[in-house]
């Protein structure tokens, strides 16, 4: 079956407290569809981290999730500042999060590395001053 289910979420960059709502909804839907706990965990962590990044670093964006029988694909697109040095941003521990965000427990610089770790396919496209798009895929093994 090739038909997919598509979910589109507007991630609001001005409302920090609602960050994580989109990934929670995806998790609920995947459970109702009967996907394995392993896949659900990977998808929820990867998407949660990406969603938080859009809120903290890019003032929000659009999350698009497509679910098919064998794969969940997540695209997170924002119109934020872009990432200057992707390799640096991908390294564990690198973070530009401001103190007020760190006070909430974020800013360990583990988001991007974890997203990559939990996904089967991972790609970032970014342009300074234009925005960042993260493409992730998790296969249903």
């Amino acid at each position: 079956m090739n038909e997919t289910l598509k979910y589109v979420y507007e991630v609001d960059g001005s409302d920090f407290m609602s960050a994580g709502v989109a990934s929670a909804d995806v998790k609920k839907n995947l459970k109702m569809l009967g996907f394995s706990g392993d896949l659900i965990k990977k998808v929820s962590i990867a998407m949660y981290e990406g969603e938080i990044n859009m809120v903290i670093h890019a003032n929000g964006g659009i999350a698009t999730v497509e679910v098919s029988d064998d794969c969940v694909s997540i695209v997170l697109a924002d119109k934020g500042p872009g990432i200057e040095d992707i390799e640096l941003a991908m390294s564990e521990g690198y973070s530009t999060a401001p103190d007020r965000i760190r006070a909430l427990g974020f800013g360990a610089g583990m988001g991007l590395p974890n997203m990559k770790k939990y996904c089967d396919e991972f790609k970032i496209e970014t342009e300074l001053g234009v925005g960042t798009t993260v493409y992730m895929k998790v296969y249903n093994s």
Partner: protein
């Protein structure tokens, strides 16, 4: 499904069809149909939230008739520590003596078994943690066990595989009674006074492959008046207490954790809080926490919905009662093998749209389409707790879109506008 019995039920005559219980049910197990609440049995976890909220007292827990104790030659009652907070006394022995005086031959404190569980948990925690990611979750609250079974498939293997203290207590009490009376086991009745519908259900059909030895279960509410009267007549209490602070602490949220002698734990009470913690564990956000204690009721078992006393008053009474008691009196886990479950929690797939993925995807697509037609007010007038829940009911064939009042009204208005043109 290992459930044959289910304690929470509806008193149809008292139900006025308001939507309070439906709105407060943590598993969306209630619908209002034809002016009456209806419980979807497979979804109900017997937490008692609906009993707590219903102003018409239309939700109740099915218990046994007290007179049934007379079917047994020797009667033993199991007293949970939360019971001690129900009365104002200065010594737990008063309550235990009064329990004997209302018709039992002996009393057995559930807290003695709880102390054994605390001991065994301490001994086995590291080994259990090595087998799963994240913390080990307490198995003490039956409502939480049911919640995990239906909503958190991935956490079933993280639950402490040790039998609930009441069942261990039942075994200990039975063995002791057989030894002392030399009666055949079937002539000895074991009874429990329950703070909640979840434990009533546990007495009738426990989880984890445990066999229940409990012959009858009554709510605190059912025995309260008798017990209060008996209590007034106790002059000099018998010395019946056999447990210490560690066991009695299990009456309240955080008590089980305190008995583990580690700092690296979390405890949470109240369904909404509990669900948030479970979500965090499921997402792997608590990798270093060793143990998590969760109680469905606010404040823990003192907050059980079949209790009589205000939970906060009960908690403070218990604090006073346990002062000057020894730390713990029951160790001995030589019989530990009987304390472990035969099998881990088994996940029940009742929230899946369909067992067949293709069919589930088809239903999900329809669900999305229907949800987008609904107003998103979550008003409950359709008899489902949220617009999304109505959409679910529709795709599963349990409701129709006409049930949505707003949709029907706006459709009608639109039709009129069309007519005018």
């Amino acid at each position: 499904m290992d459930r044959v019995f289910h304690s929470v039920t509806l008193d149809k005559d008292k139900c006025k069809g308001c939507i309070n219980c439906m709105k407060h049910c943590p598993t969306e197990a209630i619908r209002v149909r034809e002016g009456k609440a209806k419980i979807i049995t497979e979804r109900c976890i017997d937490c008692g939230a609906c009993i707590r909220i219903c102003h018409n007292r239309a939700k109740k827990a099915i218990c046994d008739d007290f007179e049934m104790i007379n079917n047994f030659e020797y009667k033993v009652v199991l007293a949970p520590p939360s019971l001690y907070g129900q009365f104002l006394v200065d010594d737990i022995n008063y309550i235990l003596t009064a329990l004997k005086n209302i018709g039992f031959d002996s009393v057995f404190e559930v807290s003695t078994a709880a102390e054994k569980v605390s001991h065994l948990t301490r001994e086995s925690l590291n080994q259990l943690r090595a087998c799963t990611d994240g913390p080990i979750i307490s198995s003490a609250c039956t409502a939480i066990l049911r919640l995990i079974k239906v909503r958190f498939p991935d956490l079933c293997n993280s639950v402490l595989p040790i039998t609930e203290p009441i069942h261990i207590a039942a075994q200990m009490a039975k063995d002791e009674a057989v030894r002392e009376t030399r009666l055949p086991p079937e002539k000895i009745g074991i009874f429990f006074i329950s703070p909640c519908p979840a434990k009533v259900t546990s007495c009738k059909s426990p989880v984890g492959g445990t066999k229940s030895l409990i012959d009858g279960v009554f709510s605190v509410n059912d025995v309260y008046v008798r017990l209060l009267a008996a209590l007034k007549k106790v002059d000099v209490p018998e010395q019946l207490m056999r447990s210490g602070i560690v066991g009695i602490n299990w009456a309240q949220s955080g008590g089980e954790c305190a008995g583990l002698l580690t700092d690296n734990y979390i405890y949470a009470d109240g369904m909404e809080n509990v669900i948030k913690v479970l979500e965090e564990i499921e997402d792997g956000k608590l990798p270093d926490t060793e143990f998590v204690e969760l109680s469905a009721c606010p404040g823990g078992c003192v907050g059980g919905v079949l209790n009589v006393a205000n939970p906060f008053v009960a908690r403070s009474r218990i604090s006073a009662l346990r002062r000057y008691l020894p730390l713990m009196l029951n160790r001995g886990i030589s019989d530990a093998t009987n304390m472990f479950w035969e099998q881990n929690l088994q996940f029940e797939t009742i929230f899946r749209l369909d067992e067949n993925r293709e069919e589930a995807m088809r239903k999900m697509r329809r669900l999305k389409a229907i949800e987008s037609m609904l107003p998103g007010l979550d008003c409950g007038a359709c008899g489902a707790p949220t617009c999304r829940a109505l959409a679910e009911d529709i795709v599963c064939g349990n409701a129709t879109i006409e049930e949505c009042v707003f949709k029907t009204v706006t459709d009608k208005k639109n039709a009129e506008v069309m007519d005018d043109k």
